[in-house]
């Protein structure tokens, strides 16, 4: 099964620069299926949580207006090698995904 997201973490001193690419259609509900002509239902990530060693550092609420295959870049201060950063999301259908990376 393919990973739900790709994480790229760079540690510069005590700053961890994290780039995440999530695989999700982020359907607006306004797009028509080119073959059937039917509207493709609304399907988007509503909630994103980032933790650093288990502590929440970011709690984001999203709308369907975040681009398909969401990309997000954020930075955590006070980071060091061995720290764990986890990214989790939940979408409007209740599906969830989570991935953790260890800073190096």
């Amino acid at each position: 099964m393919a990973d739900a997201m790709k994480i790229r973490a760079q540690l510069r001193g005590d700053l961890a620069d994290i780039k995440v690419l999530m695989f999700h259609p982020m359907e607006t509900g306004l797009r028509k299926d080119p073959l059937s002509g039917e509207l493709i239902p609304l399907h988007f990530i509503r909630h994103l949580v980032v933790t650093h060693n288990g502590k929440v550092v970011m709690d984001a609420q999203w709308s369907r207006a975040i681009s398909k295959n969401p990309f997000v870049n954020f930075r955590i201060r006070g980071a060091k090698a061995g720290d764990k950063v986890a990214i989790s999301w939940e979408d409007n259908k209740g599906a969830t995904a989570s991935m953790e990376t260890t800073l190096n």
């Binding site: 550092v57 970011m58 709690d59 709308s63």
Partner: protein, 169 residues
């Protein structure tokens, strides 16, 4: 100390199930939410409820009201980087840096989207007040960034021209 660019030990773990993704109100000292996933031990979780009213609002005035932004001051301490012209409205890159001390929340708004509110980022201690992401814009519009700090709202904005709208349809 040089920069190291390695992503190691990436592993997929289960997102806490919705029942266990508790909304915890920190009451002097904090409460703990326990997840079913082993590695995530106990963590104080401030799971914000999805702000349906604000995300459903179609008029900018209602969006601002629904996020509690009754009074907003323009600020030059919010840096917003967005293209002047976005070829593809489905992918408009934006980068936000807030230099306002005590930044708690960053809001992203596209005035002319069917619903102006695009995203809300709660910045907890440890996170730099910096976000870079990509948004959809239905048509040329002001992109507005609001920052909540110390209970007050500050804003910066930039006009972004869109050649092909990004909402679908």
């Amino acid at each position: 100390m040089g920069a190291r660019s390695v992503t190691s030990s990436v592993q997929a773990v289960g997102f806490p199930s919705r029942r266990k993704f508790l909304r915890v109100l920190a009451l002097g000292g904090g409460c703990l939410a326990i997840f079913s996933v082993g590695w995530l031990r106990c963590a104080r979780l401030l799971a914000a409820e999805w702000n349906k009213a604000a995300f459903d609002a179609t008029a900018l005035a209602d969006t601002l009201k629904d996020i509690g932004a009754n009074s907003v001051s323009e600020s030059d301490q919010i840096q917003l980087k967005a293209p002047e012209i976005a070829e593809n409205g489905a992918i408009v890159p934006i980068e936000i840096t807030s230099r306002i001390p005590g930044t708690q929340t960053i809001y992203v708004i596209a005035d002319k989207n069917p619903q102006p509110l695009v995203a809300i980022f709660d910045i907890e201690p440890g996170l730099e007040p910096f976000i870079s992401t990509r948004i959809k814009m239905g048509e040329s519009s002001k992109v507005r960034v609001l920052v909540k700090a110390g209970g007050k709202f500050y804003a910066a904005s930039q006009d972004v021209k869109v050649t092909i709208g990004g909402c679908g349809g």
